[in-house]
């Protein structure tokens, strides 16, 4: 007989003839678990299925057995390439680390016209020009930017309010483009701005150099102006006016907005989403308040806990799904990031959700004075007087000094989830991270005790909710997966 079919004996193998392959699992609700492997393949199983799998009570003729085998959770006599395939997939995933640091954040000024209580940096008054980045510092920073092995380089201008030092922005853009002629990297620019100083001159420059804008929009006028006070209390009106202007001149896809959640935002998730809809944005990122900067000093982060924030997120996601069901495509970007982690081969490059952490290797922050930090959160801690994550200075250190510094290497080592208590056997490990800066900020320990971690509670809560939605509603599943389909 032609060997088109596998031999009958294969299907008659006695139970208990397979070996386990590395696997981790985590309960996602009362009855179900996510079980994942080293390369991020996963299945949703109930407890008895996991127990049968581990105790080798599965029959090879069952669908469960075939699924476990196809996803590389077990090895039997018929598995010829499973280990090689797992190695190759692991290597491919890890290879992204060799092309490190694609995001370079230039803090071109600490000055700002707003006085937001949650502001994550120690903003400076409008006339304190000593807190602007100089041309010399910009030049030295650019030398380091182009040492990065990454083929894609994004330079993001932040503040304070970066447009208060627009001359340095212009200088960096033109100089970076000049330097890049010798490198040929995929070079892009973003300005994170409150838009107060956006005018035609700035917009023309952005248009000419394909610079994207990112702004802050916290929701309806009363909420936005409460969260983001500005002299004259016209922050909301000004922001809306400038968003519309930027959309008109640069195109809708060239400006995005981010919201920050405060205690006052919690009952208003639908109203917040409506503001984004009215402005014709293609989605919203429902963010939690970070525990850094003034947020921690003013106790803002303790006014509501992670559980309450998760309720806010779930209510918002439900409302967004309703909008999508009615035929309008509108994305919840936080969910989309987590879906990419679950379903994309490389999982995306979200700094907070990877092992080791993206600190320094996904993003590097150049402060106005040339000091270098592993992440924006690291800089915020430094502004509060703790420079634990300061990697060096563009004026004093070489690229090698910075990337071989204990500050960076210890941080990366402490953020390897595979060796962190509770993370190492968690079913979400391939899709999550350890966030050393968060745990240092909240527990004074870069590894942190995950039972006490708001970061862990938030990640688990988000993934549990998304996974149960994917499992329980084919309609919601189709909508959510469409968000990560080009």
């Amino acid at each position: 007989m032609n060997a088109t079919f596998r031999s009958l004996s294969l299907y008659e193998e006695s139970i208990n003839s397979y070996s386990l392959l590395p696997a981790r699992f985590l309960k996602i609700d009362d009855t179900r678990y996510i079980m994942s492997n080293e390369v991020g393949e996963f299945l949703i199983l109930n407890h008895s299925e996991i127990s049968d799998y581990v105790h080798k009570r599965l029959n090879p003729s069952t669908e469960l057995y075939r699924n476990l085998k196809a996803k590389h959770f077990l090895l039997d006599n018929d598995s010829t390439v499973a280990l090689d395939l797992l190695s190759l997939k692991y290597r491919t995933k890890a290879q992204t680390f060799s092309r490190f640091t694609s995001l370079h954040v230039f803090v071109v000024s600490l000055r700002c016209d707003y006085t937001c209580s949650y502001c994550q940096v120690s903003r400076q008054s409008m006339n304190s020009q000593q807190f602007d980045m100089s041309i010399e510092t910009a030049d030295k920073s650019l030398e380091l930017v182009f040492r990065s092995p990454s083929e894609a380089i994004k330079i993001e201008f932040q503040g304070g309010e970066p447009l208060l030092n627009f001359d340095t922005i212009k200088y960096v853009v033109l100089k970076a483009k000049e330097i890049n002629k010798a490198h040929g990297k995929d070079l892009r620019f973003v300005i994170t701005t409150n838009l107060s100083y956006l005018d035609n001159k700035v917009l023309e420059f952005c248009l000419a150099h394909e610079i994207l804008l990112s702004t802050s929009l916290d929701g309806p006028a009363e909420l936005h102006n409460y969260n983001r006070p500005r002299p004259g209390q016209n922050g909301f009106e000004l922001t809306i006016e400038k968003i519309k202007l930027a959309q008109q001149i640069l195109g809708k896809e060239s400006i995005g907005a981010l919201m920050t959640t405060t205690a006052k935002s919690l009952p208003l998730v639908k109203e917040i989403i409506d503001v984004y809809l009215e402005l014709d944005f293609d989605g919203i990122f429902l963010r939690a308040l970070s525990p850094y900067g003034f947020a921690i000093q003013t106790k803002q982060s303790y006014k509501y806990d992670t559980t309450r924030w998760l309720e806010f997120y779930k209510e918002g996601l439900e409302y967004i799904l309703e909008i999508n069901r009615s035929g309008e495509r509108f994305i919840e970007f936080h969910t989309a990031i987590l879906l990419k982690k679950l379903f994309s081969p490389f999982g995306g490059t979200y700094v907070d959700l990877q092992s080791p952490s993206g600190a320094g290797i996904n993003a590097l922050v150049y402060n106005y004075n040339g000091e270098i930090y592993a992440s924006d959160e690291s800089r915020m801690l430094a502004e509060m007087g703790d420079d634990h994550f300061r990697l060096g200075s563009v004026h004093e250190n070489t690229y090698e000094d910075i990337f071989l510094s204990d500050a960076l290497l210890d941080t990366l080592e402490g953020s390897i989830a595979e060796s962190s208590p509770m993370c190492h056997d968690c079913g979400l490990l391939p899709f999550c991270g350890c966030d050393p800066v968060y745990h240092y900020a909240t527990q004074h320990d870069i590894v942190g005790h995950k039972a006490f971690s708001g970061y862990c509670e938030k990640s688990m809560g988000l993934y549990r909710h998304i996974l149960t939605k994917l499992e329980d509603s084919p309609e919601d599943r189709a909508i959510m997966l469409s968000w990560i389909t080009p």
Binding site: L20, R24, F25, E38, S87, D425, A451
Partner: protein
């Protein structure tokens, strides 16, 4: 003000569950309970002290702890069987990577 503490004890057969598994289970509840573990004969006696509540539902918590203990034991079984093959996969993944000179 010090936290109010309430206690509850349960017994675990030490011929069925090992100490590491019990410790890993207790670690996961560290935000709710502190534990004291004693070994007597063929039993571990786990004394738990609630950090937050004076009158907690001891039965519900014990059930929760025992369920988690079973999960930790399954994790132990997977870890023990697969640690060698995991090392093999990782060694194979990073061989011929060019990271080591003259490789």
């Amino acid at each position: 003000m010090p936290a109010k503490i309430s206690g509850h004890s349960l017994r675990i057969d030490s011929t069925i569950f090992d100490l590491r598994t019990i410790k890993e289970t207790a670690y996961r509840f560290a935000d709710k309970f502190t534990v004291d573990i004693k070994h007597e004969g063929n039993e571990y006696i786990i004394s738990m002290f609630s950090i937050h509540e004076e009158n907690f539902d001891a039965t519900a918590f014990e059930n929760h702890f025992r369920q988690e203990l079973i999960d930790q034991d399954l994790r132990r079984m997977i870890r023990e069987e697969t640690s060698n093959v995991r090392n093999l996969i990782l060694a194979n993944a990073f061989s011929r990577s060019g990271l080591i000179p003259n490789e």
